[in-house]
Symmetry: C2
Subunit: 302 residues, 2 copies
């Protein structure tokens, strides 16, 4: 069975939305991409670049013409967009399939159910684990998702055909699709992304607030630069993610804090055995992960 879609509406034409449109055009999944958003200059640029074919600033028109709507906006904006789209669909049958790319899924499900009363059958929440240090439609690339994971969180209420269309869309973009529950997704992302950002921000802010901050930053070198790179991320985006994923992030912070307290005690007690074992376990887990990741992205190399 081959899936394809006629009109793909991209809401929010930045790096992710633009890259998805390029990938889906290139793979033949669709040949008609319509941009919707409020920043006309980005949408106009998308047309110039051939990323989208046309755009509209009218949400009703976008919904009317869409076979699939992909919301590619920041986390909290995605909630707002969903809250605008869902009421316009209620009572309609055969409406577009809707999906998204936001970093947190639980808050979106909650918002959708609050608006629609139930989880809408055609709303399939998803999250591509891909990005770049660049942003905006100018940085979009057809191969952004190749060999990257996309997590879908299908719901029991979902129309199976809607889930399969979204799955086919991401496969068509070259991604490897993984299914999880909303809770699994939010816990995994809290661990692998949201907590590390919180730790990096906290470290830099703590050191900057200390009396010896001038000496500290004067003598820090490349290792510190690499470890704190993610503390140069967009504060607005991460404020929103921290709030959107509050329950899972709090769990992750607590898990980490428990382990840090244990390690502090081992330092305090000069417990060489426990320090070595902790560092050694971590090194083994990290080396194994790095090897698996290198194998996973291998096919990209020439």
């Amino acid at each position: 069975m081959t899936y394809a879609s006629d009109n793909v509406v991209i809401v929010g034409l930045g790096l992710i939305g633009g890259s998805l449109a390029r990938a889906l055009r290139s793979s033949g999944f669709s040949q008609r991409f319509i941009g919707y958003g409020h920043r006309e200059v980005s949408l106009q640029r998308g047309v110039e670049l051939g990323v989208i074919d046309e755009f509209t600033l009218d949400l009703d028109e976008a919904i009317e013409r869409a076979d699939i709507i992909v919301i590619c906006t920041p986390t909290l904006t995605t909630v707002q967009i969903l809250e605008k789209i869902l009421p316009r669909l209620s009572g309609r049958s055969g409406g577009p399939v809707i999906t998204d790319v936001a970093s947190v899924k639980g808050n979106l499900r909650t918002a959708a159910i609050a608006v629609a009363g139930v989880m809408p059958p055609q709303l399939v929440l998803g999250h591509p684990i891909a990005g770049s240090q660049y942003s905006g439609v100018n940085a979009s690339r057809a191969d952004l998702f190749v060999d990257h994971r996309v997590i879908l969180t299908p719901d029991a209420a979902n129309d199976p055909a809607a889930v399969e269309l979204v799955r086919a869309m991401w496969c068509s973009a070259g991604a490897e699709v993984v299914d999880m529950t909303v809770e699994q997704h939010d816990a995994v992302l809290a661990s692998t992304s949201h907590l590390p950002h919180v730790l990096a921000y906290t470290l830099v802010d703590a050191l900057a607030s200390a009396d010896n901050s001038e000496d500290v930053f004067r003598c820090a070198a490349g290792g510190f630069r690499d470890f704190t790179r993610i503390a140069s991320s967009d504060p607005t985006m991460w404020r929103d993610i921290a709030i959107a994923n509050k329950p899972a992030l709090l769990n992750s912070i607590d898990l980490f804090s428990d382990h840090l307290a244990r390690l502090r005690k081992a330092v305090q007690d000069e417990n060489a055995h426990e320090l070595f074992n902790t560092f050694d376990r971590a090194k083994q887990a990290r080396d194994e992960f790095a090897t698996l990741l290198a194998q996973r992205i291998q096919p990209k190399l020439p």
Copy 2:
């Protein structure tokens, strides 16, 4: 005034010791490098590579012939070497200047005073902030220290000529020498290096111990790989550093934990204002640091 040295004894011929010998030969600081250690195979390799001119396995001979001794061994080994060298010098005048490259200075000063009764005038503690993912004399490079910081921690008891000789040695290797007290050094290194390693090890170990560890490592990507890279460091070396720098490391862990607890509360309270301000302050501090670091290492670029 030009400083130079006749016989430079390198204790422990690995990446750092080998690179220092190469740099000092190339700059003309000395033309005679003698290796001392217990791993004859490394020392033999050093001679083959032209890094050292000869070696000895006899500590008394090494001391007898040295004008300057640079101890380039791991942190706790440096303590043991000092404890062997210092008793052999007591009562002698005009003995060699002794310096080291270890990551912690307070424990060395304590050990030296325990052995010698006072801080020996010719013992000048130092620490080059340079390294590589490679190790061993095979990886040594004459330019390893160029544009890198070396922190010296001169003591009031030091012979000023000994301090100036060590300073001249590092300048001759292309490094930028910064003076600090032992306490300043150990606090700065705890903040910029020892704490980040503890955080990375703790994060990976905490995630590996969690119920969802398989999902976590399956879905982690490049950002997580970069943030946890230092958790692939040598567990023995970091166990030793954590114990050697216990007081400063505990302070750093406590500073960090206080800030993390504050951030946790902001997430719990959904305090968007405080989350944004923390992330924004951190981003500004980190961006400023990265800019300064890029300017500092600029001359290395062609």
